[in-house]
Amino acid sequence: MDKIDAIVVGGGLAGLCAAYRLADAGRQVILLERGDAPGSKNVTGGRIYVDPVRAYLPEIIDSAPFERHVVREMITILDEGSALQFEYGNERWRREPFMSHTVLRAKFDSWLADQASAKGAFVIPKKKVDDLLWEDGRVAGIRSGTEEIGAHVVIAADGALSFLTQKAGLRQPHKPEDLAVAIKEIYQLDEKTIEERFGLGPDEGAAGLFMGSVTRGMFGGGFLYTNQDTLSLGLVVGIGSLIHDTGGFDAPGLMDGFIERPEVQRWVRGGELKEYSAHVISEAGIGAVPKLYTGGMLVAGDAAGFALNLGLTVRGMEFAIASGVMAADTVVEALDGNDVSETSLSRYEKRLRESFVLPDMETFRHSRDVLDRQRFFTVYPRFMCELFDELFTVGAKPKEGLYRTAKRVAKKHVLNMETLKDLLAARKL
């Protein structure tokens, strides 16, 4: 079979970065994307941190079509009928170089595809890859419908579900406990309204996290990102939590409940719904990372389980960009040496270990185990809300001293063995 240098499956960040880098190194590369265009099957939360990826896309990152640079973080802790909100902002975040940007992926990925094409990569949309081709025990290309394309190396960047990783025998079928479902709604509001409502300057953005009763005690939380003239609003719920929950909640109902909260409505009111999307997202950290290479094949981005939920920060896109670039660099080196064996491609993992990708995944190995404790989504939000409720309340009776109030509320909710256990677990974070 005739073989081209490399086939990349999936036109998300990992795949497009891999294609860009391979083409830039003068290699033949075809990228196959099942959607109408790169980004059209994508569901993102909405924020990229720039510093981790600058070194991987040095020529183009500064011209990327970001939405707004984030200057403020907003945290909302919710109980039934009450909420505690706080913000963190920093003057430094308002000046360049900006730390993070909100992003919409249909636009962003199309731009990245243009960059890859300009370097000579063939980006082919509307092409679903059905299977891998094998030769002498190694991956040797792909099959799409009846069409077969041979390649020395296949880079699987086919997203969180990654059927290719499973077909290649690099991982077991997904488990409900390892994944969450993210549901997202896009609301259009004009730029001025967004800036006035959130107190932002031009191009400045805000990022919001919501935790507590929005997930009805289940693992997960809500998010909000301001784009140029839209808001991205979403809810993430653990699939394991959902299927074991006995409260009778369903995923669309949870999303409705979230959007209807006054703490969310204050931001979104008057906005017009433009899109309703959903996708699974890995929550298992390094525990669900598959084997990353085999003869003739590498795995990058969400397909490799490179996503980290640390409660206050949720990351995935930086890992996708960096791993896509490192996969490409490994392939270039392997092709130069005429050796695409498993041993040769194992250098990919070495690169990942020397970068921030695997060390970050490793450092936060236990974050899911720590965060996936029901009390984080029930008892602690309730404690916080009730504490402030009592402190703010002025009634007809003489008011109790502040310390006594705090002690009483704490005793009711958190001064117990369970909290101590949670605290001990939190040391692993």
Binding site: G35, S40, R105, I243, A251, P252, L273, K274, A278
Partner: protein, 93 residues
């Protein structure tokens, strides 16, 4: 007020294939009590046909999230992406 989930899905750009990319094994479904698929699907596309007793999935509104396939621990759901050109096309992403 709140839009119904089918109204939300109708906002999306979608091109539907004539055949379903989700196939259920009715024998397995018949023995299932939990019917997790109904609760987990963000599009609310799963339902039980009371007359036939069979599970039904409205594949045309599928957001391609994959949640049902993972939530169905009994393995009744054979799920693949819709063919190229078909399915949901996110304009914002």
């Amino acid at each position: 007020m709140t839009m119904k989930v089918e109204e939300k899905i109708a906002v999306n750009a979608m091109k539907n294939d004539t055949k379903s990319h989700i196939v259920l094994d009715q024998t397995i479904c018949a023995g299932c009590r939990e019917r997790m698929c109904i609760a987990v699907c963000p599009g609310h596309l799963y339902s039980l046909n009371e007359e036939t007793g069979e599970m039904v999935v409205e594949y045309a509104g599928c957001l391609e999230c994959g949640t049902c396939m993972i939530a169905c621990i009994y393995g009744s759901i054979a799920w693949d992406y819709p063919g190229g050109e078909y399915g949901v096309q996110y304009r914002y992403g």
